[in-house]
């Protein structure tokens, strides 16, 4: 599955491979081969490959649900701002951090560079 993002350029001008979410234009895509259940507002995400289960709080779940491969990080942050009435800067930081954590937990598709 392709990961919809622009090419990312590191501050030095080289290609950034270490942080695929280094720009807010990145369009993260949640993995489809995991089992997800919602219980009282929390999401439980079971990664069958790793055998690990993750509990996402409401904000993390909001970000996870919006990781559709179409919405860039800044757009997800805008929606978070509208719905939860939070400061836009805080929302952007929260969404960026949530995406970073979701990727660290291998719950997002691996980016395909240049797509």
């Amino acid at each position: 599955m392709k990961y919809h993002s622009r090419e990312k350029v590191s501050p030095e001008g080289g290609f950034s491979e270490s942080n695929p979410d280094s720009t807010t234009d990145t369009r993260p895509l949640r993995r489809s081969d995991v089992t997800v259940r919602i219980i009282d507002g929390d999401a439980l995400v079971l990664n069958q490959k790793s055998g690990l289960i993750h509990q996402l709080n409401q904000t993390a779940n909001f970000v996870w649900e919006h990781c559709d491969g179409q919405s860039p990080i800044h757009e997800i942050a805008n929606q978070l701002t509208e719905i939860y009435d939070v400061d836009p800067k805080i929302a952007l930081n929260d969404v960026t951090e949530a995406v970073r954590r979701l990727r660290e937990l291998e719950l997002l598709e691996t980016p395909v560079n240049g797509n």
């Binding site: 949640r30 089992t35 997800v36 259940r37 219980i39 009282d40 929390d42 079971l46």
Partner: protein, 222 residues
Amino acid sequence: VSRDHGEFLFQFEKDMTIELQKIRRDLYFLHAAALEFAGRAVLLIAPSGVGKSTTTWGLLHHGFRYLSDELAPVSLEGMEVYPYPQAICFKKGPSKPYMLPHRTIYTSRTKHVPTELLPSEAAIEPGALIAIFLLRQSSLSSAPKIRPITKGEAAARLYANALNALAHYGHGLDGAIEIAKRNFCFELTIGDLHATCALVKNTLQDLPDNRITSPLGLVEVA
């Protein structure tokens, strides 16, 4: 071939639990201690070494009846816990006044108290589940604490202790959620054993009579 009877017992019990899971695939097997109090079953869940057996042993001195020490077979349909009354197995012995009986069996690895030596009788019928305590360790001399936890947190931690999750629908996640949703769930930070037992008992006595039996209401996201 086992090196000694301690290792033999360990392997034998492991084989037994695997065979049981094969025979009763309908049951949701949890790595947990189970006790009965006032006609209701409770589960104690903890990583190895936190104090599950010691807390179980303590509660048996305070009006609880024994269902199991290591293995809790749960019927998801009836939300009942079946007894699995094997000897209670300790890695470390509890402290005074909860000393182990003289006829405790000592192996190279563990200490075993047979069910006939328990301070209260073992239950022989399944018990209707009402509460789950997820144990956390702190200083054994400190005051114990208890806090209700969300159904999501409880379900995640139940799933992590499921032994035959793959035998159930949704990779076993739905079973863990059902247990969490239909029972009261707490995190218990254990402390001094007597105070811990009193806290568990008081918590159960303060529960409302009507159990939470809301339907699952699961939503598929992915």
